[in-house]
Symmetry: C2
């Protein structure tokens, strides 16, 4: 016996990453075909086992980095999943983490190397094991938090138009929002600041680009959008 808890049994622990992106006015999820047994070939979230020398958060960040080449991503724990037979192979308890990334920051080659794809959340296939449940829970979490936490900016480039921002809200909440009311609320938030730049890509007239000011946000506590 090497330690204090020798009489108890150990179990595999993994982390699974629910990676959301935003593209073409839709909320997208990053999934791939599972490349190992059991369940080889099924659609699945990307995950990995927790190593002895890393915390859960570190494991999740490592897996995310492996998958995307990106660090310092917005990430939140969704919860632990521990049904006995949730994994058809052996018993594995998993902790799901939800990450938000800007699709444009994600190198297409890295994506292809991992054999993962962006699928629209309203066209989600059946996923491996209990992964669908994790995704559902992650979406619920996003919906609950988007009104009180500045999530949306993680899905957008640094500079964005108000229309883009509105579309992020609509994609997450799954409902349409009145343009004038939305812009009125945004205007009342001092941490969404107008820049001098104009986007001429999506409209002929051009739209003012805005930026999320992190410092400003730190100042004002708990907003509503």
């Amino acid at each position: 016996m090497t330690g204090f808890y020798g009489e108890h049994s150990k179990v595999f622990v993994s982390v699974d990453c629910i990676v959301f992106g935003f593209d073409n006015d839709k909320l997208k999820l990053l999934i791939g075909r599972r490349q190992m047994d059991p369940g080889r070939g099924e659609w699945s979230l990307y995950g990995g086992f927790v190593r002895e020398d890393e915390s859960l958060v570190e494991a999740a960040n490592r897996v995310l980095y492996t998958l995307t080449g990106l660090t310092n991503l917005y990430m939140k724990q969704v919860g632990a999943f521990g049904a006995i037979d949730r994994d058809p192979g052996e018993r594995v308890i998993t902790v799901a983490y939800c990450a938000l990334i800007n699709v444009k920051d994600y190198d297409e080659n890295i994506r292809k190397d991992h054999g993962v794809e962006w699928v629209s959340i309203d066209e989600m296939p059946k996923l491996y094991s209990d992964h669908n449940e994790m995704v559902r829970k992650a979406i619920t979490l996003l919906r609950r938090r988007i009104g009180t936490e500045p999530l949306s900016f993680n899905l957008l480039p640094e500079l964005f138009t108000l229309t883009q921002l509105q579309h992020v809200y609509e994609a997450i909440l799954g409902e349409e929002i009145d343009k004038r009311n939305f812009r009125k609320r945004v205007k009342s938030l001092d941490f969404i600041e107008k820049t001098e730049h104009i986007d001429k890509v999506t409209s002929k007239r051009g739209a003012i680009l805005y930026r999320f000011n992190k410092e400003m946000y730190g100042a004002d506590t708990s907003f509503r959008l």
Copy 2:
């Protein structure tokens, strides 16, 4: 190699229970002196290791039943905690569950047998390992949910007065609530129903006892209090 994931390492997984009660107009937490090494004698949540033949939820329910003799308790997962050295003994990943119980249902003898006590959440001592963080997170979770989920009834006897109910809200939210506004809102909820019974214990005049009607609640979706 007996299975699919043999090359990966396993880890101890435990569940820790954050048990809240309500007594003397205060939100209370159930903690005890840790009875094993390491950390023997420190204030701690009550927990246990997850066995091979039970899910996380089952483990949490077993631990709760062992501790309280009660089943079918209101219980929610708070989250997984997985810092490498969070436990001073060996590496243990733990999943925290928060439960709400009616103090009166808890047999004092069972309580004493386990050497646990109710402490007011504003007099909480330093707890073992990262248990304080778990409690903080559980309270945040309660505060967030109490407005949208019928939590409070789990902390009260089946019949309760409106003043008691209000005190539960005040204890959880940590702020005073206007009596008239509170009662106005309660009256608008059809799943909190008046009974014919009168409580003469806490007031000379007597107060009408109410009951939470679970069926009614199922009907109306998502309230606000």
